[in-house]
Structures are given as structure tokens and as C-alpha cells.
């Protein structure tokens, strides 16, 4: 993305377009990556509910794959995941491993 020069800026640092948070991809902040293990998933959708960003996708009322563009790797989904019979459906894995 080409950054703006000082003559192109809106006075007073006002952002004139609403709803543009989707353009700010924060996935690169991640140090730990959540991995979804579908066979352990009971479709409770707690992960979708607890995700503070928009990284968990739901399709036709069912849990779908992560959108890693918005996952900062906070690990809340993995913590909240009840799993199936003690087996977590979300585990955190160090990035780069």
C-alpha cells in the first residue's frame, strides 16, 4: 500500500469512511496460531462467540476454518473450547514451528 504524503491527509486526522476496520489486517501480530481439529468439535460455537476479532468463520450455522488475517493469536478460543471427551478442538501452536 502506498502511504499518503502530508498534503493528502484529512484535516484533524478524521477518518471519513465508516466500517473500514476490515482493511486493517492484524494477523501478522500473531506469535501463537490456533489450529482447529474438526473431529473434536461439538459445534458449540463458543470460539465464535468469544473471539474478540472476526477470525472465526461460521458457514450454514457450523464452525468453519479460521480467517487468519484477523487472528492475533490471543488464545481465548482455545481456552474456552470444551472439546469432546477431554480432547480440545482448538490447540495453540507456536508460529514458525
Amino acid at each position: 500500500m502506498k502511504l499518503k504524503g502530508w498534503k493528502e491527509l484529512t484535516p484533524g486526522v478524521v477518518i471519513l469512511e465508516a466500517g473500514n476496520a476490515a482493511e486493517f489486517k492484524t494477523g501478522s501480530w500473531r506469535a501463537f496460531k490456533p489450529i482447529w481439529i474438526e473431529e473434536n468439535c461439538i459445534q458449540c460455537l463458543f470460539c465464535w462467540l468469544y473471539c474478540p476479532d472476526m477470525a472465526i468463520k461460521v458457514k450454514d450455522g457450523k464452525r468453519a476454518e479460521y480467517d487468519y488475517d484477523y487472528c492475533k493469536g490471543c488464545g481465548i478460543c482455545a481456552l474456552e473450547c470444551p472439546g469432546k471427551k477431554g480432547q480440545k478442538a482448538i490447540v495453540m501452536v507456536e508460529e514458525g514451528k
Binding site: 491527509l9 484535516p11 478524521v14
Partner: protein, 392 residues
């Protein structure tokens, strides 16, 4: 037709606020600005203005509420002094960074410690780098006139910056002087209907104020802010020209008093300039070519114009009613910077006077002018910075 009245400086500025009829005013009382807002609050209670007056719990909140109201899309004013301005400090930069044209009369008062309620310029000088426009006023008339003009300057679509209008605490704020008021309709026509720029309350066009801007753009936003300041001088002069048409009173970036053929001169802000002019006249009667320069626009500082007005002199003294401990007085620092850029320049000295409301008397001006006469004879500066009117 102008109305001639006998009023305090505070009363005159409160009248200017009544006539400009801001949408919102958030204020907290502090001596010596209290009377100004108390009188304005009476206008609100009596239904003489449409202003929503927000009574807050501190000056920090007052400025915060003003910022919100201005971002919302209203014409906004407040007033303060001294510790109140100091408490607003972090919000001042937010008002200017967001380019919100808030108008704020400052009734200049010293800063603690030791606590002192009387007039000096420490408060406003402490805010000189906050990105606000600063207009300074010698007397009640100038404070009234500057307040009205400040709305036009701040709200100008090429500017959109907050503006302070400074006058000396007690010496001007609480002294009764002759002031000429304009008629209400003249002031209302002059300031005009408030024009908004990206107001938050335009709910059909949602927008965000106050985003986080890091290393990728912050430097560019500050460069843009500097650019806006460079346009202020032109707007100040245009507004002054229009103001002269309705008032008959002429304003510039500064006042030059008997300066054209002068050899020595004083540079001094606000009320002490009035005292000094009498002494300048006495020196003139004795055949000594003496003059005075009184800055009106201190931020942005008109470096080229002031250098141009002073460069022909042999010696000048810049008098500061504020100190920068371990540095030169703030006005002296600016005037020396301005003159450094010209090849032939006068000898310069700096006197600190009148802190905490200590009287500046004609004999102080006389003492300084006599020292300047000596400097023109010997071509030697004894000491650059010195306190005057101080007991040993």
C-alpha cells in the same frame, strides 16, 4: 452605532462571547477568569444566548467537553487562567491536532508555586507550543476586539485551529476602562453562521475522530499542522481589515509605536505596553528617537515581519512577563530568532519584569530605555538577561 461603556476587561470579553453566541461553552471557574464566565453564565440563565453551558468538575474536563462539542459540530468557547490552563495542557494538543476551532480567552495569571493569583504571562507562554493560535491584548478594547476576530480566524475553512485571546489578569480583567461595543447585529454578521467541517453529529456520514497514528503517518500529520499555521498570518490580516470596516479600529500582526525612525525600542506584550508608550513619548520630547513594538499574534510568530520592523534599530530591549528558568524569556527567544536571520541587527537585551503581578511602572521603562541609550553610545551589552523591579 457603537455603544461606549465603562467595563472591566472580563465584562468586555463576556459581552463579545454573548454577541458571538457560541453553541456550547464548558467552563470551570478560576481567578481571575471567574468573573468572565460568571457574567457569561448570567447571559445563559437570562436567555440572552442560545449557548448550552456545561458546568464541569475541572478545566481538564472543560477542555475535553469543548473538544467533544467542537467535533460534534458546534461553535465552542471557554475561558481560563493559570493553573486551569495548566490542567488543560494535554487536551490543548488534542484540540489543535483535531483542528477544532475552539475560542478561549486567557486571563493571564502566574503559575504556582508559590501560589499567586495575579497577572503574568507564565500560563499562556507555557501553552505556546500547543498548536493554538495566540492573540495578545493590551486593554479591554483589544481583548473584546480580538475575541470577536478570533472566531473568524479559528473557524476560517483554511485554518480550523483553536485560538487563545490573552489579556492581563486583574490589571485588565478587573479594571474598568472605556470600551466601544459593536452592535449585536454587526458582530453576528461579522462572525457569520457557524460552518461545520466533518461534524460527528452528521449521522448520515459516520466518521471517526482520534485514531491511533504511529510511525507511518504521525510525522506527516504534524507537517500538515505546521503548514496550516503558516496560513494564519494572512487570515489574521484579512480578518483585521474587515474588522476595521465595522469598527474603525485597525489591527495587524503587531503594533508599531513611533518605530519607523526610532534608534532604540522596547518589545513588550499586553498592558505594560500602554505604560511604556507614555515613557516613549517623554523620551521623544527629549529628542531621543524611541519606539515600541507590541506583538499581537504570538502564535504563529511573524518572524519576517517583526525582523523587518526592528532591523533598522541600534538597540532593543525585549521585556518578558514570564521566565524560562535557565533560558531567556520566551518573547526574547522569538525576537532574537527573528533578527538572527538579518545581516545588520540591533544589540539586544532581555528584562524579566512583573512576575506574579508586580507592578510595571513608568520608571522601569525609563530605566530600560536609559540602558539602551548607553548601549548605543558604548556598543556594549553589560548583561543579556536580567530581572528588573526586583529587590536585592
Amino acid at each position: 452605532m457603537a455603544r461606549v461603556v465603562a467595563v472591566t476587561g472580563n465584562e468586555a470579553v463576556a459581552e463579545a462571547l454573548r454577541q458571538t453566541n457560541p453553541d456550547v461553552c464548558a467552563a470551570y471557574p478560576i481567578t481571575p477568569a471567574t468573573e468572565l464566565m460568571q457574567r457569561f453564565a448570567a447571559f445563559v440563565s437570562n436567555g440572552q444566548v442560545d449557548t448550552e453551558l456545561i458546568l464541569v468538575e475541572s478545566e481538564h474536563s472543560a477542555m475535553s467537553a469543548c473538544i467533544g462539542a467542537a467535533a460534534g459540530g458546534g461553535r465552542v468557547a471557554t475561558a481560563t487562567s493559570s493553573q486551569g490552563l495548566a490542567l488543560m495542557w494535554e487536551m490543548l494538543f488534542i484540540a489543535s491536532g483535531m483542528r477544532l476551532p475552539i475560542v478561549m480567552p486567557i486571563v493571564n495569571r502566574s503559575l504556582s508555586a508559590p501560589i499567586n493569583i495575579h497577572g503574568d504571562h507564565s500560563d499562556a507562554m507555557g501553552a505556546r507550543d500547543s498548536g493554538w493560535i495566540q492573540l495578545w491584548s493590551e486593554n479591554g478594547q483589544e481583548a473584546y476586539d480580538n475575541t470577536i476576530q478570533a472566531f473568524r480566524i479559528a473557524e476560517h475553512m483554511d485554518i480550523r485551529l483553536p485560538a487563545m485571546v490573552c489579556m492581563d489578569g486583574f490589571i485588565i480583567s478587573h479594571s474598568i476602562e472605556r470600551v466601544e461595543y459593536l452592535e449585536d447585529n454587526e458582530v453576528r454578521n461579522f462572525v457569520g453562521e457557524y460552518k461545520t467541517l466533518n461534524p460527528l453529529l452528521d449521522i448520515d456520514n459516520p466518521k471517526s475522530y482520534g485514531p491511533l497514528i504511529l510511525t507511518d503517518l504521525y510525522h506527516e500529520y504534524k507537517r500538515a499542522q505546521h503548514e496550516v499555521m503558516t496560513r494564519v498570518k494572512g487570515v489574521v490580516l484579512n480578518v483585521a481589515e474587515e474588522f476595521e470596516k465595522i469598527s474603525g479600529r485597525r489591527y495587524g500582526l503587531f503594533e508599531a509605536y513611533r518605530l519607523d525612525d526610532a534608534e532604540i525600542a522596547l518589545v513588550i506584550l499586553n498592558s505594560a505596553a500602554g505604560t511604556s508608550k507614555d515613557v516613549i513619548d517623554e523620551f521623544r520630547e527629549r529628542g531621543i528617537k524611541t519606539g515600541l513594538l507590541k506583538p499581537r499574534l504570538f502564535r504563529p510568530f511573524p518572524y519576517e515581519e517583526i525582523a523587518d520592523a526592528l532591523k533598522h534599530l541600534k538597540a532593543i530591549c525585549v521585556l518578558d512577563r514570564a521566565d524560562s528558568f535557565g533560558g531567556y524569556g520566551p518573547l526574547f527567544a522569538e525576537v532574537s530568532s527573528a533578527l538572527f536571520q538579518v545581516r545588520e541587527r540591533p544589540k539586544m537585551i532581555n528584562k524579566i519584569y512583573g512576575l506574579g503581578g508586580r507592578d510595571f511602572l513608568p520608571h522601569h521603562a525609563e530605566q530600560v530605555l536609559s540602558e539602551l541609550v548607553d548601549i548605543t553610545k558604548t556598543n556594549k551589552v553589560r548583561i543579556v538577561k536580567e530581572y528588573i523591579g526586583v529587590r536585592e
